[in-house]
């Protein structure tokens, strides 16, 4: 007991010192202005009203001066407004909620696994161990074609899954926002591993009868971070085209990509990837400013493809039997950490408050000049963001990021609960997490959200959103029926 007390008081004192430092640096302009304003007020009070009127009259304010100065003001204001980039708003988004019939509880998954992999019990064991430690729950879903024994991945089934997921998400989005198909100017669909001809974008254009001059783009192969790449593309397009709506659809179609072989490194994705999708409506119209939920402030993309190890750590290839699957390397976590470091190096100066940036600068100078072996200072990102949406790639990813960014359990709660309830839905997982935060009623006006996603290649992409209006707990959405049960405690190992 006595040993703890000195540390406790020391850390409390340090905490107050830190707080004081942060307030001082972040509000330095206010602190400087206060004495100046006080000085002016005292001077004015000293002068008295008649003298003030005398000064005003002597300035000779005639009409010419007034006109010139107002022209100058208007001129400067116009230049300022014209050079600002357009604001991009997220009006609303909708996540796909799979039907109960597609659920894959652990028992079902293991039973199917035992039947499909009759010839290699070691692989079945491996899958069981992965599932126990995965952080997934009993309510994640797989598409209908995968429920067959053996799975039946035809192109028609894959198209069926795509239609089910994408059309449900877009229907929900259109109902929420009231946007008409004729109003959509830009359409971007991203799905990594399924790309029929005509593309999924053409499928959406056909179903909703979108306009013939729509700008459509179909991105694929870009991994779990493709959602943020699509947002980046939509942002660039909306900067160029005024008064437009853009719909971004992020999904991953599992049907054609279920690995049917026995190689262990390739069985891992089978255990983690689940069905899901999201549709997002972005706008740069002035009248959406009030009803939009979020405003997009930054998107930062980092691509580590030039490094061979990073490039090969998530790789689609054939195994010895010629079956195609995705191999995940053992170094994945380390590479993810490196990619994250690169990303936050670019992101830091854009979002961190002045206090953190100065601290980082001082510790950098200190390390370079005095102590080369010192630990690098990790800026406190909790100062810059209220909410974090970390791609639910797997338990290890969330643990690693929590450690690297020094986040508390509450910050990563949205990610962990999404992994538990929906599994790894690839590029759409960020939107399920955002929906969790809203469903818990934690999103207030002015809150800043940081979405981080990793993807094959190896990419690390981040997007920063600012909440535009306090969001009431949504009455619909994927979390509607189960939010009250969350958060749940997820044990280290679930015994199967």
């Amino acid at each position: 007991m006595p040993q703890n007390l000195p540390n406790f008081s020391h850390s409390v004192r340090l905490k107050y010192v830190k707080l004081g430092y942060q307030y001082l640096v972040n509000h330095i302009i206010t602190f400087l202005l206060i004495p100046i304003m006080a000085g002016i007020v005292i001077e004015v009070l000293r002068l008295g009203p008649e003298e003030i009127l005398g000064i005003v009259r002597s300035v000779h304010l005639d009409i010419v001066h007034v006109l010139c100065s107002s022209f100058l003001v208007i001129f400067i204001a116009t230049v300022y407004f014209m050079s600002k980039p357009r604001s991009i708003y997220l009006v609303d988004y909708a996540c796909y909620k799979p039907p109960v019939t597609c659920r894959v509880p652990f028992a079902t998954f293991m039973e199917h696994s035992r039947m499909n992999l009759k010839d290699s019990p070691k692989s079945v064991d491996f899958q069981m161990r992965i599932l126990e430690r995965s952080g997934l729950g009993e309510e994640t879903c797989l598409p209908p074609a995968i429920h067959y024994i053996p799975p039946n991945p035809t192109m028609e089934a894959a198209r069926g899954e795509a239609e089910l997921v994408i059309f449900s998400a877009i229907d929900a989005l259109m109902k929420k926002t009231g946007v008409k198909p004729k109003d959509i100017d830009i359409l971007i669909v991203n799905c990594s591993l399924f790309s029929p001809t005509p593309s999924l974008t053409a499928m959406v254009v056909n179903k909703y009868k979108l306009r013939s001059n729509i700008k459509s783009f179909n991105l694929s192969g870009m991994g779990c971070s493709a959602g943020l790449i699509s947002i980046d593309l939509a942002r660039d397009l909306l900067q160029v085209q005024p008064n437009s709506h853009a719909i971004v659809v992020s999904t991953e179609i599992i049907t054609p990509n279920y690995y049917q072989g026995q190689e262990r490194a390739m069985l891992l994705p089978n255990c983690l990837f689940r069905m899901g999708g999201a549709a997002i409506l972005l706008s740069n119209k002035r009248r959406d400013r009030n009803r939009a939920k979020y405003k997009l402030t930054h998107v930062v993309r980092t691509h580590k493809g030039a490094d061979d190890k990073a490039y090969k750590c998530v790789f689609e290839e054939e195994d010895a039997q010629g079956k195609v699957g995705i191999r995940l390397d053992k170094d994945l976590m380390f590479i993810a950490g490196e990619a994250l470091k690169s990303n936050i190096t670019t992101m830091g100066p854009l979002v961190l408050p002045a206090s953190e940036q100065l601290l980082f600068l001082f510790t950098l100078i200190r390390r370079k000049i005095f102590n080369p072996k010192g630990k690098p200072y990790i800026p406190d990102f909790k100062q810059a963001f209220e909410h974090f949406c970390i791609h639910a790639g797997g338990r290890a990813v969330i643990d690693e990021l929590q450690k690297n960014l020094q986040l508390s359990a509450e910050h990563v709660e949205a990610s962990r609960m999404t992994l538990h309830r929906f599994g790894n839905t690839s590029s759409s997982s960020l939107w399920y997490e955002l929906n969790y935060i809203e469903a818990k009623g934690r999103m207030k006006k002015g809150d800043r959200v940081w979405q981080i996603a990793f993807g094959s290649g190896f990419k690390c992409n981040s997007a920063v959103w600012k909440c535009n209006r306090t969001i009431k707990t949504p009455s619909d959405g994927p979390w509607q029926d189960c939010i009250d049960r969350y958060p749940v405690h997820i044990p280290e190992i679930v015994k199967l």
Binding site: C68, F75, P196, S456, G457
Partner: protein
């Protein structure tokens, strides 16, 4: 007082001038220039003649004599010559069971070749590339082909990369559209557009009539295009983008399903080409031209056309010929997607083009076949090799794609061009006197054979 009046007039004038300056400055940096491009030419061992195509068809156990006749007729009348290129696995006899690796190797050959050549020739290092757009319709891989390019050439970390798939033969112009938009936001950038098609994993092994055609018509090809919006490179640039129009007819059900990838009754995946394809293509083409014509044709031609159509309607004459808009008033060269002889003939007829205008497309179809999205760049190469492109000329590119899309754009030629590029070894032989397929003389008898008594010759 006078000086104040002067100031009064001076300020709003200078304000307007400043506004004008900002607009011009923005526009200066928003122009989209092509610095260089390089089309892919595989080695001579990959050439496929009509006779060899016949052998490949015979090899397929699922195809009988009727299909053999149908396909040979299609190949012979398609306008494809004897020197087009096919993927390697066909030469090993493995077209019915392609592996995933085959598809990747096919792409690697192209990516390792063209991009290096275009960057070397223009003196731009891979780490200077700011935007990369890769479009290959029919293959998806993880990591994407774009990531493959970044890994092979060690490009920068903050590169803007996009990997488009599934967008059909018109995807080249969609990639150019992305670059055009990004150039409006980013100054002083280099962009690389890489376009090709993957044939190996998409061979159809069944015998459904509408799907076997796709096997015979597509050929290997690809192109890497280096683009920039740097004003300082204007003197070195080849082309400047004037305008780009995209038309998407996916809303119409018959347009959407006329060109679709699906499974046949036996579960084999193939590319279904419907009989309504020409009609959908024409519809999309007309819609696209409706938007494009006002942007590229001079006012005189538009006026003339509207007056003629109006007077025709008023007089209600039963005169058969409808007024045709004369595109040659605004366009000097026509760069058509080499989808097939029927496509080229159809466009030629609707735009009233002469044989001289259609020559580049016909010759490209003959020499390289239908290389899907990259075919436009081979046609461009032909025009350049024939020294047709002079400074100030306007070039109209038009392409069609599954969905159904019709995309077109107008380029302005910035300097006299004459590099023989990928046509180096054969441009002097073009145009040949006779485009007829030599196969017809040798095997024309096949059309008279009776299916019940015919045995496939050994």
């Amino acid at each position: 007082m006078d000086s104040f009046l002067l100031l009064l007039c001076f300020l709003p004038v200078s304000y307007l001038l400043f506004k004008l300056f900002i607009v011009i400055d923005q526009k200066r940096h928003q122009c989209c220039y092509i610095l260089d491009y390089h089309c892919y030419k595989p080695g001579d061992d990959r050439k496929i003649s009509t006779e060899f195509s016949g052998e490949i068809i015979r090899r397929n156990k699922n195809l009988g004599l009727n299909e053999y006749k149908f396909l040979l007729k299609a190949i012979v009348s398609s306008g494809i010559g004897e020197q087009t290129y096919a993927p390697e696995m066909i030469f090993h006899g493995r077209e019915t069971c392609p592996t995933f690796e085959d598809g990747i190797t096919e792409m690697d050959e192209f990516l390792n070749d063209s991009i290096e050549k275009v960057l070397d020739r223009s003196g731009v290092s891979p780490s200077e590339i700011d935007v990369l757009v890769v479009n290959v319709s029919m293959i998806t891989s993880l990591p994407s082909l774009a990531a493959r390019v970044i890994n092979r050439y060690k490009m920068r970390e903050d590169i803007k990369v996009y990997n488009l798939t599934g967008m059909g033969c018109s995807a080249s112009l969609i990639a150019v559209n992305i670059v055009q938009n990004i150039f409006k936001c980013c100054k002083n950038a280099y962009a690389l557009v890489v376009t090709s098609e993957s044939l190996s994993p998409n061979w159809y092994t069944g015998n459904h009539r509408s799907m076997i055609l796709a096997n015979c018509l597509f050929r290997t090809g690809g192109c890497a295009v280096l683009m920039t919006n740097k004003v300082t490179l204007k003197n070195r640039a080849m082309f400047k983008l004037k305008c780009l129009v995209r038309t998407h007819h996916g809303a119409k059900d018959d347009s959407f399903s006329c060109c679709i990838q699906r499974e046949d009754e036996q579960g084999r995946v193939g590319f279904h080409l419907d009989k309504t394809l020409p009609k959908s293509a024409t519809r999309a083409f007309v819609d696209n031209l409706k938007v494009m014509s006002p942007k590229i044709l001079p006012l005189t031609e538009l006026l003339r056309f509207s007056i003629v159509s109006f007077s025709r309607k008023m007089s209600q004459s039963i005169d058969g010929s409808r007024p045709v808009i004369n595109f040659k008033t605004g366009v000097n060269h026509f760069c058509l997607h080499t989808g097939g002889k029927a496509v080229i003939d159809g466009i030629g007829q609707s735009l009233n083009l002469s044989e001289y205008d259609l020559e580049p497309a016909r010759m490209t179809l003959h020499r390289f076949g239908n290389t899907s999205a990259s075919s436009l760049w081979y046609v461009l190469g032909y025009m350049e090799a024939k020294k047709r492109l002079k400074k100030g000329d306007k070039l109209f590119m038009i392409s069609f794609g599954a969905g159904f899309k019709c995309n077109s754009c107008l380029w302005e030629v910035l300097r006299d061009l004459g590099d023989r590029n990928v046509w180096d070894d054969c441009i002097d032989n073009y145009p040949p006197e006779n485009l007829a397929n030599p196969f017809m003389e040798k095997y024309g008898w096949i059309n008279d054979e009776d299916p019940s008594t015919f045995k496939v010759p050994e």
